[in-house]
Symmetry: C2
Subunit: 654 residues, 2 copies
């Protein structure tokens, strides 16, 4: 019993059952539910909050502590000029269309995708090809969404739709409008035509101060807070590059018509890293540690060819072949992979997709998304973008505050060049208000132009044309041109930025989906096999009786576990032990310890493992020792089975 | 050297030096600084972020884990109806006045306070009474603020100002306007008169969705998220009361004219607990554990008498005497005290002040603030309010969703009462549209009225007056009145809420002030004596040389400390060891370990304590063991001095 291998995919994914579990156990729920809710806003209940806190805690260890990143915490409320400079006011937008009669608003690309996918599904049905296994409750849901009429399409149409879907992220607004017209795409809820796509800016607006004089935006990403503090961060890091800053915090996007639960929301917690590197040296000193990590990659060229077939390839090879542009980008892609798998994402359902040219955010030069497959399709959960020097440059230009690195060169760079020197007195006297124009003109001349003038001056006079067209004569009395030697001991540059950006709510949701299953012998009851690392509660303490004689034991086990750093809860509710175990299977609690009458007499305790339902028995202290190691990951369940006796008592009826 | 007693108040608090340190080491800085900043918005840099994260982590342990609270995470963006119901739209406001000529906006109560305090200071100067010891940089600052003209006031005026200041929080808007007129209070920046006080709502507004159809507010407190989820939380807790929910998150208040750094900001992180209790039983089962905690209390009556003198009293006595209204309120006041002292707040500068009647938020029936003294005066850092059943009641009334507890009674309550029963058929036929009016009328009748009618019916007919005045005759055919027995086995009630609410930024700031000092022998260099529990970095690893032979040792010490759960940083910068220690004294790092050439040869390492600058030496593993215990708080420095040798080497010149 104790060492049974568990088949966690014992039956098809049952979405209705899954959603009912999350709702019943208050992982999360629509915010303001008693007021009817607002689309795209969710509250996390106790297990959701704990799961999120544990994911964040592991993220801090995996990234911030492991790599000595500089954590910051910047404000959400942002004055408008910042996002005007960053380009977000002009370009952080999605394309929306309106129902031509009801005025309902839809996101254009999602509309096209939903309609095409529904038509393809209808085609399959008409051709008699088995649809994906969907449970009844999913079908019910379908009725509310896009209808899939069983109409067969021509083979050409099927192929055309497939190609468009693979490239959809690359379409501009007018192209999306064109698609709607050509393919007669209508609002599926009303069958009405839709309007031309219009841009809708996704930032929430507000205003700061009592007189409304400062328009502001809620940040749609935490990144600008890193960039604006760049000089302070660089100084904190003793002027050295590369280094990374990191921030975990709330961001806001006023999504057009949020659906798909936690996957598209208007308020969410992000974890973002801005890794600042020398643009001329994007190697990474720890790249060797991840070189052999094998990933499923879907690059830009494959998608442009209308395919979504992934390539299995090591990060090292991908960088060597130029599929991933540089070591630093590759390093973070691999580290993202390791993090996601560690917290419980199924690696078989994880791929890295490169953005297509038109798809990238306005600030990015390259971007790889960690996409995770779930019941809604493939969802971007982490973006890993190369923002180059875009942000630091625009903010520096706008504010006049230099956002640069000054690097002392080991060997000064010695160079020679021609330099013009004016006799200011004579210049002013001779040319009056043109004097400044002349100086500016000379400053812009290149080596060849200066050399030509030098030659003419040697002959006595040089003729120069001013910008407005007038020609002036110069003599060596006014200007001399000579070759001079320059020694540069400091190199100044604007660093590039590699940005891994995590949507924690999306990760939390797919993690729940990937770890949800049911036992073959009891398909109506769900189990969440969350790894102990992130499980909301690690150990459930189950006293078999509410008798007072159990209280000191409960107290003892509870405080010993707390001292060992293991987060436990007591379930002394008035239900059968089977129901209590079932509730905790649903809450993803990996271990349960049961205190029964033998515990009171002999100080023994049983230990139950959630996935196998196997039970072991030992002294209270031995069981606490074993469960502590299980939770910390230093031993696994088969090892625990060697250390404690198998228990086949009768009280723990499942 | 190693065991010197440290005088942490070796010189007067030096505000300019303190602020320069916080700024230089990037504890925090004005947000959007390179754009000129916005008042009331601050970013935390690496040490500020770590300090905040450590305070939060300890808060989680002290409150959430210790008391099995249910943590939630609800949204910031809130649709308007929620705050309309909660009363915030109408009443969450401050009084502002405008400069009559420039239109500059000032908060009315702050204006009165600043002007009176300045006049009192001027009076003291004129009387030749020594002002508080202020350093030169503070004086510079003063010039920008409220001027203190050295004018002597009458003794009556001095007394009057004192009484008004003690009661200021109790003044209404019109009373504040009256004060400005009577005492000729003007805008100190311009000497212009100010306008009548107007209310200004402190919530930031926004709108949700692409068509702007849903007006929304950014929450000014996290509390509503708890109340709206009350039913789900109660269910999660198996229907049992008392229980508490807890939330750590961002809130926003559009302050009128934020000054005073982190003490009055427009965006801040809060930690809030909503403890739900039976209104008829506000005892607390763990009250005995805190009964003997002695606090400085400043109750409502003392303030009403124009005084701010505190009473030193145990929590038990305060509750027994009715100064603190009940055990649960008293329990949390004591737990707040314990938390603040544990993280490093000076208990001698901490008092609990009860709100005066007009001062309380619209939802509170009683409130005690933890106020902490700092260079700006006494500042509210934690509020502990009894919100009674206010919020649950208004939301339940508005939405029709019952926010109640259903308690199974051990003994059913049996009661008898008169009940009217109508013969519906006859009633309808006889009274037509008045039938419903009659039924409603009877439902509202009390026992005495029913008994009178019962008597009349026994005589044949009863006369009843309808609400609009018409009299109708009733017979026993239409209605009978009988005594019936009722058995109630469920008690339904709306719980009361005790709310401890923490402003983490304010706590962080006063913590820094309380722990800042300078050594007598080196007053220009600051030290932050943050307790190891919250210090941003626990151990600094200092290699004496940049030679490569040190690298394996640095690696070893660093990874051994990480495995022991001790957060360390390496400082291998190219400066003297004295400068590196000084930097880390400023960062509040409690311990430093130094690797020198002896370490390479003999595997020894020195350990430095920040406050005493004492140094010890031992084997690398022994030092790691000792420093781990020091950080965990299981031993103190005198104990460490017994376990390792005192070191009086020469390299660690301070």
């Amino acid at each position: 019993m104790a060492n049974v291998t568990v088949n966690k995919t014992a039956h098809p994914f049952h979405k209705g059952q899954f959603e009912a579990l999350l709702n019943r156990r208050f992982f999360y729920a629509p915010a303001f539910e008693i007021y009817g809710g607002v689309a795209g806003l969710y509250d996390y209940g106790p297990p959701g909050s704990s799961l999120q806190a544990n994911i964040i805690s592991e993220w801090r260890k995996h990234f911030i502590i492991e790599e000595h990143m500089l954590e910051i915490d910047s404000t959400v409320m942002t004055p408008a000029p910042v996002f005007e400079t960053s380009g977000h006011v002009a370009r952080f937008a999605d394309w929306m269309v309106k129902d031509s009669k009801t005025g309902d608003v839809l996101r254009a690309d999602h509309l096209v995708k939903n309609v095409f996918e529904a038509r393809l599904a209808g085609d399959k049905e008409a051709r008699g090809i088995a649809a994906q296994p969907q449970k009844d409750d999913d079908k019910k849901k379908k009725k509310k969404g896009v209808k899939a009429a069983a109409v067969q399409l021509s083979d050409e149409k099927v192929k055309e739709y497939g190609v468009i879907l693979a490239q959809l992220d690359n379409y501009s607004g007018s192209e999306l409008g064109e698609l709607c017209r050509t393919h007669d795409i209508r609002n599926p809820d009303t069958d009405n035509e839709v309007t031309e796509p219009q841009q809708f800016n996704l930032m929430f607006t507000s205003s700061i101060g009592p007189t409304g004089q400062h328009p502001g935006y809620l940040r749609p990403e935490t990144a600008q807070g890193h960039f604006l503090n760049f000089s302070r961060l660089l100084e904190f890091n003793n002027g050295r590059v590369p280094f990374a800053s990191a921030q975990i915090g709330r961001s806001f996007r006023n999504e057009i018509s949020p659906r798909a639960g936690l996957l598209r929301v208007r308020e969410f917690t992000m974890a973002e890293i801005e890794h600042f590197v020398d643009p001329e040296d994007k190697r990474h000193e720890r790249f060797g540690e991840v070189r052999d990590v094998v990933l499923d990659l879907l690059d830009r060229n494959v998608q442009a060819g209308g395919s979504t077939a992934v390539t299995k390839i090591s990060v090292g090879e991908a960088v060597d072949k130029g599929i991933i542009a540089n070591e630093t980008l590759g390093y973070f892609v691999a580290r993202i992979y390791q993090f996601l798998v560690k917290i419980g994402v199924n690696p078989a359902r994880l791929r890295f997709r490169q953005h297509m040219q038109n798809e990238m955010a306005h600030y990015a030069t390259d971007c790889w998304d960690a996409e995770i497959e779930n019941s809604y399709g493939w969802t971007e959960c982490v973006g890993c973008a190369d923002r180059a020097a875009y942000d630091l440059t625009v903010h520096s230009n706008k504010t006049g505050h230099p956002l640069i690195v000054r690097q002392a060169l080991k060997e000064p760079i010695v160079s020679e060049r021609l330099v013009a020197e004016f006799n200011k007195k004579v210049l002013g006297k001779t040319f009056g208000k043109d004097a400044g124009v002349l100086q500016k003109l000379f400053a812009d001349f290149d080596e060849a132009q200066l050399s030509k003038i030098q030659g003419e001056l040697a002959q006595g006079t040089a003729t120069v044309q001013l910008p407005e067209g007038k020609e002036v004569q110069l003599t060596p009395e006014v200007v001399t041109i000579e070759r001079k030697t320059f020694k540069q001991s400091i190199r100044e540059y604007t660093p590039n930025v590699i940005e891994p950006s995590f949507g924690l709510g999306r990760i939390l949701y797919v993690l729940l989906e990937h770890n949800f299953w049911a036992r073959e012998q009891d398909v109506e009851r769900g189990v969440l096999s969350l790894p102990p690392l992130v499980a909301p509660t690690k150990v459930l303490i189950v006293p078999l009786s509410a008798k007072e004689e159990f209280d000191p034991l409960i107290q003892e086990v509870s405080s010993k576990l707390r001292r060992a750093g293991v987060f436990s809860r007591v379930d002394d509710s008035n239900t059968s032990i089977g129901k209590r175990y079932a509730r905790n299977d649903e809450l993803g609690t990996p271990f349960g310890v049961t205190l029964d009458f033998a515990s009171v007499q002999n100080r023994t305790m049983t230990l139950r493992e959630r996935d196998t339902t196997g039970q072991l028995i030992g002294s209270i202290d031995d069981v606490i020792g074993v469960v502590t190691e299980l939770v910390n990951g230093s031993i696994d369940w088969p090892e625990a089975c060697k250390r404690l006796q198998v228990y086949d008592g009768v009280q723990a009826v499942e």
